[in-house]
Amino acid sequence: MKVWLLKKMGAFLIFIWAAASLIFFLVHTIPGDPVVAMLGKMPRLEDIRRLQQAMRLDRPLAEQYIHFIQNLLRLDLGESIIDRRPVISSIRRYFPNTIILASAAMFLAMLIAIPLGMLAALKKKGFWYAGSLVFSTVGLAIPGFLTGILLIILFSIRLRWLPVSGSGKIQFLILPALTLAISLSAFLTRVIQTAVAGELSQPYVLLARAKGLSEFHIFSRHVLRNALIPIITIVGLQLGALLSGTIVIENVFSWPGIGTLLITAIRQRDFPMIQGIALSLAILYLLLNFLVDLSYPMIDPRIGHDYR
């Protein structure tokens, strides 16, 4: 178990280093000079030189890379070229909002997907089965940003129940969270349904029935526990879709999170900021996956057993 934990931990750290290096080399080896790209058309020569010196772009690539990694270890991501403030402080300010939105969306998605998927698996070919099939197909076919705009048309413009955009109060959170939850739960519903249906057809269910256990007992103690592993893995995999959906949806609702910050930075060609945000999102995603991995042995003691 300890060896298993250490292995996972090592892989996690190596991936952070690899992701950081990839972003670094992406910024530094793209065709064209990032400084010229940042300064726009017809930059003055001394401006170019000043910015190059400030960003250490006049040094050899290897030296820049070592400097970048050293700064990264001190959690220094450089400073924004627009407002000259440290990138890390902007990220710290906007990150909590993204976490709030993503968690709310995940919670809502589970609230929809778990009951719907289970009902569909239990009552095959019934109303719930057809309903969940239609819901998941429609939910997957509508892009998130479009769902968001349609919800704005329905709830903010026609019904006037909720505000269009902003942040601070709970009313502002509902629409973006619901938008994210719809596409997320469309996928999760199907996965949960398939996982539960698969477990229900296993021989141990037949044995449990033959022993005379109640259907409720079989479902809650045996089927659910076995179906949980694929469900948690998929939820873990879907965290990527959740984060990438958050980037887009935040911009639809002007939610002051990391996604809005990222798109603004891209529009302003604020390269240190883009680099910092991309890296922090990748680290968050890796961290979440790491935590999902850690939860496996707790649910299914067979996993991780080989390394004990």
């Binding site: 991936f15 592993i229 798109i263």
Partner: protein, 275 residues
């Protein structure tokens, strides 16, 4: 595997939807023509004989924009999916066939790309490279070849020790020959299904990038860009969003249904089985 399931409902619906879209594109081009010229004096016009669906905020013919945007989405997605399936299949085969260092290099690259959640890598690439059709396709391919590589690698590893492959190797067949005449027919049905599903994913990604203004040249109409441009006119002219939105949903739904129908066991089934 594919032929056996032509009769199910999803497959039929998908084919129908795709056929309708193609008819819409062809008929629209023939009868309406594509006129993307700007006319600032004709902004936000109601439907008229000259403009079948009216004009947008820049005075462009909405109907022409719809046809152009849908066709562009389709062409970009086809190019991106074909190239990433090809690259992915070749790399996946190489990884499985050579094993060792080649396998480690290719699969660690794939893992690294998967370390970036969804849209992030494409977004960063377009941000650094700048907008444009070539950069957009490059960004889409970079993040989507991984799925195909993993799929092909898994299949080739499974088939590697089968008798017919061992026999081919016994006859001193080259890796190229084994790949093209023994492995390809084996992997093709799975790859095709994955590619159809990938079409839906790539169209979604491409429209999201265009919606954020980070895909094609923002002056060209694409479905995502039209939806973004329609947002300020949400109150007065919701049709500016509903029409391109409808085309986009139809496009994605067509490929989703098709992929669903093509699989004897659905993706979800396969995912659940694998874990």
């Amino acid at each position: 595997m594919i032929t056996g399931n032509k009769k199910n409902l999803q497959y039929k619906l998908g084919v129908l939807l795709l056929a309708l879209l193609v008819v819409f594109l062809v008929a629209g081009t023939i009868f309406n023509g594509i006129d993307l010229s700007l006319d600032i004096h004709q902004r936000l016009q109601a439907p008229s004989p000259g403009h079948a669906l009216g004009t947008d905020a820049l005075g462009r013919d909405i109907f022409s924009c719809l046809i152009f945007g849908t066709a562009v989405s389709l062409v970009i997605a086809l190019t991106a999916v074909l190239s990433s399936a090809l690259i992915g299949a070749l790399l996946g085969f190489a990884a499985a066939w050579r094993g060792g260092l080649a396998n480690a290099c290719i699969m660690r690259c794939a893992d690294l790309i998967l370390a970036f959640p969804g849209i992030l890598l494409s977004l960063a690439l377009v941000a650094f490279l700048g907008p444009g059709i070539f950069n957009l396709i490059l960004a889409l391919v970079c993040s989507s070849w991984v799925t195909y590589a993993r799929l092909v690698r898994a299949e080739v590893i499974k088939a590697k020790e089968k008798e017919f492959i061992l026999a081919a190797r016994g006859f001193n067949a080259s890796a190229l020959r084994i790949a093209s005449s023994h492995m390809a027919p084996l992997v093709f049905p799975l790859l095709l299904t994955q590619a159809v599903l990938g079409m839906a994913g790539v169209i979604l990604l491409e429209s999201s990038l265009n919606f954020l203004g980070l895909g094609l040249d923002p002056r060209l109409p694409s479905l995502g860009q039209m939806i973004d441009a329609g947002r300020p006119h949400l109150f007065v002219k919701p049709i500016l969003i509903i029409l391109p939105g409808g085309c986009l949903i139809a496009l994605i739904a067509a490929f989703l249904l098709l992929a669903d129908g093509m699989q004897s066991r659905s993706v979800y089934n396969r995912i659940a089985k694998k874990l």
